[in-house]
Symmetry: C2
Subunit: 336 residues, 2 copies
DNA sequence: TAATTTTGCGCAAACGATTGCGCTAATTAA
DNA sequence: TTAATTAGCGCAATCGTTTGCGCAAAATTA
């Protein structure tokens, strides 16, 4: 079980490493290798436990069979799910995934991308952080690259994401249909495209409904704290909201905490709807209605497009927003 | 921004690639390279955007600066957290992480390990699945390898895990102190060492307390379903448990679902304690008391031991069980 | 001035695989 | 019998680094 090389197998079998290489790569037929040779080489390489050295192979063939995946926080279940799908699909196509966690640090992201290129990954999938698409934009001319979840509308970088506008629109529609006319929407960072799209969807839903619903959009972070603070502020006001739309499941947790502290009941005292799907949302009291992003579809679409681009060596082109779905539970009260 | 090699830089600067390599590796001093040369080479390599080819470097130096991480399911938050810590710590030490998700499939695990070796990773961290340590045991003689979370007590493979016995013991202690004497413990698979250790801790806690508490240990899977079914069965019995100990947070969700369906209140009707920490457990109604595994410590210890072993090129030796902590909430009723 | 040391750098052989081209012997065709 | 074809395989270059060894020129010492 020591380490063997092609030369070793060649020496043992008496054939050249050329022949050995060809046999081991399944090119025996096209290279007209005799049956004897194939058998002997196969046998010896089994017996010796020969293992291909992928590194040498990469150097020579310029193909690493590796996908680079760059995410802001792998500990975030949303990104973990994305990663899971990417890894699984990549593996089925014979690719392995190298993962870097940027922790929302743009500088770390730049380094990560450099590392990926230095290791000559065949393609890169990024959930970008920061608001400067420059590095990525220039990189995506040199190596197949695709963004997921987050993207830069003004830059020409392929992406697959949720149709956040639609998600915001439909969530708001749900609230309007139930007669809510004072809605608090707690959003993410100002620079977040996904957050802003959701908000835009809300506004349009109201406008198109002809309803006189008052929507107040507050907050600036996808965090528990932000959800907590904004909820505290809102329920202290003279005219508290009848419904709260949390733009992420972390924000939702903050909302819940504040409501619990004030002994406010969902949905009797205030209705709640959230973005992002999580199993535990069904085990809250009551289960929370939410907009579910098509995580698996997004990841699958992205990795498949990427693998295609790698295979065909052609420029990747994609501006895809996939529709979310509604997970209907019991957190929205119907106001007559 | 094209691809340049050492030769290119050598040609442009007029120095040999030997000198260029030395300068770029910070060996200018020890190789007595002149200041001029260093400056010129540095400048040119900046200007041309020269990027080292890690693959060639790996081939030559036999060092890949890569850690292989093999987990059963990266979408499981527990493993995602482990991965997060491993990735972050590895990166600080200049290592990158290649991740394979085995989906609890031992054959996939074997392949994964082969792939890792072929790519000459410098070290491997595995959360093993299946009950056959043979592959891993033989592998760990050839490359630094360490198990986390799960391990094989009888095999001589280094590991870092939770002190599951202690966790089970203390959870049970908590229930005993509150006067519970009919406890339902819903466990994981029969072959799971972690599950079994937790159960053993429970039994010992009762034995050592001199209490006549009746512990009934049921179930065979770390799944929501298992938790649900076993809870259904138990609360239908003539003598339902006064407390339920869920040996994982997935099992807990099943427990909650069953209790909700029967309108049973926590902790008034039945007390609950669980293994595994999750943010959302604090947002349940009521927040659930739980045994928190020292995930970060485990991962940090493991990666550091691994990096040490890699650096010192010495055999890794570790049988470490780290104590869990108790996150005390309001899900256990004190029975007078 | 001659001998020694130091400075500054390059040659060329690895690392382990892949592959275009070519070569010999055997077979077939003419 | 000779020419053409085919079968079966190997040579050697290549991928882009790293590094042991050595060598000439400059600086120092004797």
């Amino acid at each position: 079980m020591e380490k063997h090389t092609l030369d070793d197998i060649a020496r043992i079998t008496g054939y050249s490493k050329t022949t050995v290489s060809r046999v081991l790569n399944g090119k025996a037929a096209s290279a007209r290798i005799s049956k004897q040779a194939v058998e002997k080489i196969m046998k010896v390489s089994k017996d010796t436990g020969y293992q291909l050295n992928s590194v040498a192979q990469m150097l020579r063939s310029k193909v690493s069979k590796t996908i680079g995946l760059v995410v802001p926080y792998i500990s975030n279940p949303f990104f973990a799910n994305l990663a899971s799908t990417v890894i699984t699909n990549a593996r089925q196509a014979g690719y392995i995934v190298t993962l870097i966690d940027t922790m929302e640090n743009p500088e770390a992201e730049r380094q990560a991308l450099n590392t990926m290129v230095a290791r000559s990954v065949d393609g890169i999938i990024v959930v970008p952080c920061g608001d400067d698409p420059a590095t990525i934009a220039s990189l995506c001319k040199r190596v197949p690259l695709i963004l997921i979840d987050r993207y830069y509308p003004e830059a020409d970088i392929p992406y697959v994401s949720t149709d956040n506008y639609d998600g915001g629109y439909r969530a708001m529609q749900l609230l309007l249909e139930s007669g809510h006319n004072r809605v608090l929407c707690i959003k993410g960072p100002d620079v977040s495209v996904t957050s802003n799209e959701r908000v835009r969807g809300c506004h349009d839903a109201i406008a198109r409904s002809g309803n006189n619903c008052r929507l107040s959009v507050v907050g600036n972070d996808f965090s528990v704290q932000n959800g907590y603070i904004e909820t505290q502020l809102a329920i202290g006001a003279k005219q508290p909201p009848t419904a709260i739309f949390a733009l992420s499941s972390t924000i939702l947790l903050g909302v819940l905490k504040a409501l619990n502290e004030h002994k406010l009941n969902i949905p009797d005292d205030v209705s709640v709807i959230s973005f992002d799907d999580n199993t535990y949302l069904d085990y809250l009291n009551p289960p929370v209605t939410r907009i579910k992003q098509p995580v698996t579809d997004i990841a699958e679409t992205a990795i498949n497009l990427l693998l295609q681009a790698i295979a065909k060596k052609e420029q990747l082109q994609a501006n895809i927003c996939m529709a979310p779905s509604i997970v209907l539970r019991n957190s929205i009260k119907h106001l007559h």
